[in-house]
Amino acid sequence: MQALTNRKKEVERKPMTLAEKLYLPAIFKGMGITFSHLFKKNPTIKYPEEKRPFPDVFRGLHILNRDEEGRERCTACGLCAVACPAEAITMEGAERQPGEEHLYREERYAAKYEINMLRCIFCGLCEEACPKDAVYLTKTFATANYDRKGFIYKKDDLLIPNPVTDPEGYEKAKGTFSNGAEKK
């Protein structure tokens, strides 16, 4: 019969030679190999202390962006929710009242904005859909919680720190995601 591939290898069934029966040469060879591994550098990354650098396009947890004056950019238009293939995003819009101009950038804002991180598949389509530069995927990724409810992230969990009151936190959070516009 013709072999399907040329990678076929006959199994050797010869009786063992004396050197093989003694086991010793093979054992010494093996021990030499393992000993050489004592001096090899190990590839371990000691995780909480050391972190692997992520590429700029890494898609982790979401963040809700603010503008330079600390106003929320989201207008609750719902495009992200529509774009989301996992249906992880829900929101409720509300109208900005007079005197709230320093809080919300436009007349409409999201009174409620929730992302279910257990449903989210981190595809980044919400980021692409957003016309207001409001939602971004950051490089933060490790989430832990005691129950499922904790994985439904509310606005408080998602909003970026205010650049006016907390410029340091804002800059730090800003570093975890890449703004496509800045790149261009």
Binding site: I27, G30, M31, I33, T34, H37, L38, K41, N42, K46
Partner: protein
């Protein structure tokens, strides 16, 4: 006069025993850590590094964990035997250290204090006897568990011990013919004067090494606890500190067999090419240096055991028996005969 007891000797021996047993326990404790570290390094990993600096507190954490675990004694087991198993393993493991000379005789306030608990004139026989008692821990534990895997492991352990003890004993007889004495201290002194036994008995040493691997149930002869065939072997039904005792006894055995090998074949506490007694005399620190040297030698053997464990796969049982009866036993016999002839011819 007969009942006049030298209280200092009792005190001295008492301290010595305490120190030696503590040392053995600490070494065994840190052998578990070393085992994991060596395994990790040989496999390009990091090993335990969370508890304390470099994970040095890991053995303590393991010990606390074992103590806190729930203790389960199976209803169908023979209760008293079940409890006796790990105890026997532990007791026999620590008993061996009694006849080993740990260092040079030291001089404390005009008293000659030998660093040896008991210099009995059947030293090596004593070690042999106690080591073979060690298999009772395995056998009783495996039998009392009333579990077929444990029983299989116990049977394996027993037959393995019997077959390897023979070759081990025969390789030792060659050493005894060279030395002409069964006392451990005499064996060391002979080596100090005439060079290490390993030079005259390389084959004997090799057989002894292989057999002690088998006696300690270390890979490639760890058939009694073959994880992937027998689940855990003879200590499958054990939990909490009883399991801990079994594992601990294994490491103490390893340490002791390292010390025995160093004593019998590598000059014990002797530093090669240096005549300690002529250079420094019987100072107390010379004794300590001897002790440190012996420890270093035994640590090397512990490392060797670990190195072998993480290199070589386990033997099949028929291969094990073949090697023991058809390989090592004739080899040890031949070694003994040749040694006997040579000793006879040279002593004429």
């Amino acid at each position: 006069m007969l009942l006049q007891i030298d209280w200092f000797i009792i005190l001295e021996k008492f301290i010595l025993i305490a120190v030696i047993v503590t040392t053995a326990l600490v070494v065994a404790m840190y052998s578990t850590y070393a085992e994991r570290k060596v395994a990790a390094f040989l496999q390009d990993r990091v090993g335990p590094n969370r508890a304390g600096p470099f994970g040095l507190l890991q053995p303590l954490a393991d010990g606390v964990k074992l103590f806190m675990k729930e203790e389960i004694i199976p209803l169908t087991s023979s209760r008293s035997l079940f409890i006796m198993g790990p105890l026997l393993a532990m007791i026999t493991a620590t008993m061996t250290s009694a006849v080993i000379p740990w260092g040079w005789t030291i001089d404390i306030a005009g008293r000659q204090v030998p660093l040896q608990v008991a210099d009995v004139n059947i030293g090596i026989l004593y070690i042999f006897g106690v080591v073979s008692l060690g298999v009772y821990g395995i056998m009783i534990g495996g039998w009392a568990s009333n579990n077929k895997f444990s029983l299989l492991a116990a049977i394996r352990g027993a037959s393995q011990m019997i077959s390897y003890e023979l070759a081990m004993g025969l390789s030792l007889i060659a050493v005894l013919m060279l030395v002409g004495d069964l006392r451990m201290s005499a064996i060391v002194n002979h080596q100090v004067a005439n060079g290490w036994n390993v030079i005259y008995q390389p084959l004997g040493f090799f057989i002894f090494l292989v057999c002690s691997l088998a006696e300690c149930n270390r890979t490639p002869f760890d058939l009694p606890e073959a994880e992937n065939e027998l689940n855990f072997g003879y200590h499958q039904e054990y939990s909490s500190m009883k399991l801990g005792f079994y594992l601990f006894a294994e490491y103490i055995n390893m340490f002791i067999s390292g010390v025995v090998m160093a004593t019998l074949f590598f000059g014990g506490y002797d530093i090669p090419f240096i005549n300690e007694a002529a250079l420094w005399g019987a100072q107390w620190w010379v004794g300590l240096i001897g002790f440190a040297v012996l420890m270093a030698k035994s640590f090397f053997f512990i490392f060797l055991f670990m190195w072998i464990r993480w290199t070589i796969p386990r033997f099949r049982f028929d291969q094990l028996m073949n090697l023991g009866w058809k390989g090592l036993l004739p080899l040890a016999l031949a070694n003994m005969l040749i040694t006997a002839v040579v000793v006879l011819l040279l002593n004429k």
